[in-house]
């Protein structure tokens, strides 16, 4: 499944300072759907090269990270259970505190 992933608020530093990643994420073996839960594991195993604790915690994103599916807060569509569709854009953004 083709997805656009975007990392911001400093999270891009965990991904080679590249903010936008066009990726193809296969569904889990024997299944057809790609959930956000599966995407998080795929990112950990395929994109994230170091310090997974900066991105993940307890099978979800770490506190302070907002997840947006097609510019919409993932809380509005099921968080880790949300089912992704072809060409969706998923944004991971770390909250900023500077001023």
């Amino acid at each position: 499944m083709k997805l656009t992933l975007e990392f911001g608020g400093g999270l891009e530093l965990l991904f080679g300072s590249v903010k936008i990643h066009e990726v193809a994420v296969p569904p889990p073996e024997g299944e057809t759907k790609v959930t956000v839960k599966h995407l998080l594991l795929w990112i950990r195993d395929n994109l994230l090269k170091e310090r997974p604790e900066m991105f993940l915690k307890d099978k979800s994103v770490r506190p302070g990270v907002l997840v947006l599916i097609n510019d919409c807060d993932w809380e509005l569509c099921g968080t880790t259970e949300a089912v992704l569709e072809e060409k969706d854009t998923v944004v991971f953004i770390s909250t900023l505190h500077g001023g």
């Binding site: 944004v91 900023l96 500077g98 001023g99």
Partner: protein, 287 residues
């Protein structure tokens, strides 16, 4: 030199003539603004344009909060201060700049900063609160105090080449804790003093915060409640994203809130966030 802005005198009309002509704002918007009081917490990169534009626009009473003094390393982004004020309290410097621009408004300096002991008492004196701080415990403290006193909160942040902006605790929208019930782990945080910030980035976020505060105070337009603006200055891209509404389970604004005006002073924000109420503090960690 100038008479009070609170009457519709000749100076009031001349000063605000261009705003009085704006159809959805007009005379009633300008009068509401001149009768409103706005608190700005933080006189740094965000607070500089916020205080300038709120003073210029004719907000009746402005409260300025900061306990720091002006430093040379502030001046690349904190445009309300000048070299002449280096070493002086930021609130004095900002108040003097606001009054030089508009002597018809009232400005109150809160030079001891905001903490759990004084937040409810200070915020109670204002209609709208603007978070222009630079640290995590202040963000939770200000949000909780706004929930406890039922004030809308305009919250902005900037770091590096990015900025974020939302309106909390307004209508059916979330508060800061609805979005971030648990603070980020200390090891994951970034600060301006470690990671830098291009000066104009908080300038952009701060002017947008001033716009939201003006809309809340004068009661027109649609604010960023339940929305967040994300700025990427490297590519000049701006995303507007839809956020969750108020969470019934929220510790602060939920159906069974744990924090109120009466007990907020007992909450230890520094321990909760494992960080100090000042950016330069030794407890703060870097990414």
């Amino acid at each position: 030199v100038f008479s009070s802005g609170h009457s519709m005198g000749a100076d009031f009309i001349r000063r605000y003539s261009r705003q009085l002509l704006v159809p959805s704002f007009g005379v009633s918007g300008q009068k509401k603004l001149s009768e409103s009081a706005i608190l700005i917490v933080g006189m740094g990169g965000l607070g500089s344009p916020i205080s300038s534009y709120l003073a210029a626009s004719g907000v009746g009473r402005l409260g300025l909060v900061d306990s720091d003094v002006v430093e040379l390393s502030n001046l690349h982004r904190q445009i309300i201060h000048t070299e002449a004020f280096i070493g002086q309290p930021k609130v004095s410097s900002a108040a003097s700049a606001c009054l030089a621009l508009n002597s018809s408004i009232l400005v109150k300096e809160h030079g001891r900063g905001l903490n759990a002991a004084n937040a409810v008492e200070i915020i109670s004196q204002y209609d709208v609160v603007v978070d222009a701080t630079d640290n995590i415990p202040s963000r939770y403290l200000i949000s909780d105090a706004c929930v406890a006193t039922a004030k809308p909160l305009v919250s902005g942040a900037a770091l590096g080449l990015e900025g974020q902006l939302s309106v909390y605790n307004h209508k059916s929208g979330p508060c800061y804790r609805c979005l971030f019930p648990v603070p980020p782990p200390p090891g994951t945080r970034q600060r301006c003093s470690d990671n830098g910030v291009l000066g104009v980035v908080p300038g952009i976020i701060g002017t947008l915060q001033a716009l939201e505060a003006i809309k809340l105070a004068s009661g027109f337009g649609e604010t960023l409640s339940s929305r967040m603006l994300l700025l990427d200055a490297f590519s000049t891209r701006i995303h507007m994203v839809k956020l969750r509404g108020r969470s019934p389970n929220c510790f602060a604004c939920g159906d069974a809130p744990q924090i109120s005006a009466a007990n907020l002073h007992e909450f230890d924000y520094e321990r909760f966030t494992e960080s100090t109420l000042s950016e330069e503090g030794p407890k703060a960690q870097e990414l």
